[in-house]
Subunit: 228 residues, 2 copies
DNA sequence: GTCTATAAGCCGATAGAC
DNA sequence: GTCTATCGGCTTATAGAC
């Protein structure tokens, strides 16, 4: 039985020319490029990253990057956009009724999880904000700002109701944001100081515990007696 | 009386060709360029900053930048180096005997002050660390790492003596670092959320108070009764 | 010591073969 | 839809006049 060179498609495959969920090669390649771009932008920053390096990392020729994403900046914006939704979602506990302590705990844990699971995009986002958010669409900035303001108002409301000590809600939010982001943004520093190449489950648990403790105890957030 | 065009030096000035503290033009120009570079690198990052923009900002022709600093990277390293000493100095309270609460308070206040007074260099430093510290001399990294490790050991010592609660000293240090740095690094976010172009004295005071409260109260740091 | 005018090289982007 | 080969612009860096 002659063995045919494996070119072309196996029988049963249908050639799909239109853009859509069926073009699996397209989806796969876009995904490969996006992942490579996240890593590259996180490591070097937007300006220092080369599209040729992104292509190499993705295992694809450079023109593919332009074919799928049109420009380097476009690709960057897609990486950036991929983290905005998770970040907004992290504030979900503030948008529904709940005990202050539970809301704050949930928020901190989710923010830490994002720093771990979306480490690259998180870092790209942080770098973007640090340099004045020149590529962040105004609408996205407005969404994030609105959510942050809502969280601050929510904390102020708890203070007014005597559910926690009179701390400045803005600065509390900034501290929580910073303390959770730092595990993605300054991973080099964290690796260097701890001497570990990467933190494990227990380390992230300890990080969350430490931040939660400082917030709950430090701001005297009242704990409702648990009903059992 | 004829008015002479004001070229050349007024009588009494001595031409100094050697490099040294006497060449005041040299010192002035280097200072102008360094300041401009700090601002430029802080705004755009190393790779996205153009030496021509730095020269323009300093009000000097571009070749002067190369004349004084040899290369763009060299200039960047000098900006970077200018913040290392202040950062190491911030840990001074950990290097001399003192009450835990006093040490932590002093450290936090100094870190906040650095974020305010060396905002640009702070941001440049943060961006450098974020991207894996590729330009930070190994010796500088070692100094910073050694100091950080010492601070962590110091906190652990206090915990062992029962002077504060059992928190993870690494994560406590990371949180303090992050919460204080954030006022320099993420000033855009802070401006956007607070709606203020720049924070004033009272805002920085409130920031320090908030962080100090979370650390001291959150970690149950024992306060010695003040001797009066 | 200062600055104009220019060289050299890198990188984003694409034309056009397959 | 994929990729090789190349262009063109921009930026670092310097040569050389003043």
């Amino acid at each position: 039985m002659p063995v045919l060179a494996c070119r072309g498609r196996p029988p049963g495959w249908v050639v799909v020319n239109r853009t859509g969920p069926m073009s699996s090669i397209r989806e796969r390649n876009k995904e490969l490029i996006l992942r490579a771009a996240s890593e590259e932008f996180a490591e070097k920053g937007f300006a220092a990253s080369k599209t040729s390096d992104i292509a190499n990392r993705a295992g694809l020729p450079k023109p593919n990057v332009y074919y799928y994403f049109k420009s380097k900046e476009n690709l960057y914006r897609e990486v950036l956009d991929s983290i905005v939704e998770p970040l907004l979602q992290a504030s979900a506990p503030f948008n529904q009724p709940g005990e202050p302590a539970d809301v704050l705990r949930a928020y901190i844990r989710t923010k830490i999880r994002i720093s771990r699971e979306h480490a690259c995009a998180s870092k790209v986002f942080a770098s973007e904000i640090m340099h004045g958010a020149p590529h962040l669409p105004a609408e996205r900035a407005a969404q994030l700002n609105a959510q942050a303001s809502h969280n601050v108002a929510c904390i102020q409301h708890w203070i007014d109701k005597g559910l926690m000590a009179k701390v400045d809600p803005h600065h509390l939010m900034f501290s929580i944001w910073a303390a959770t982001q730092t595990y993605a943004d300054f991973d080099w520093q964290i690796s260097t100081v701890t001497g570990k190449a990467a933190l494990d489950d227990a380390d992230y648990e300890a990080a969350a515990e430490t931040i939660i403790r400082m917030v709950i105890k430090g701001c005297e957030v009242k704990e409702e007696p648990t009903i059992t």
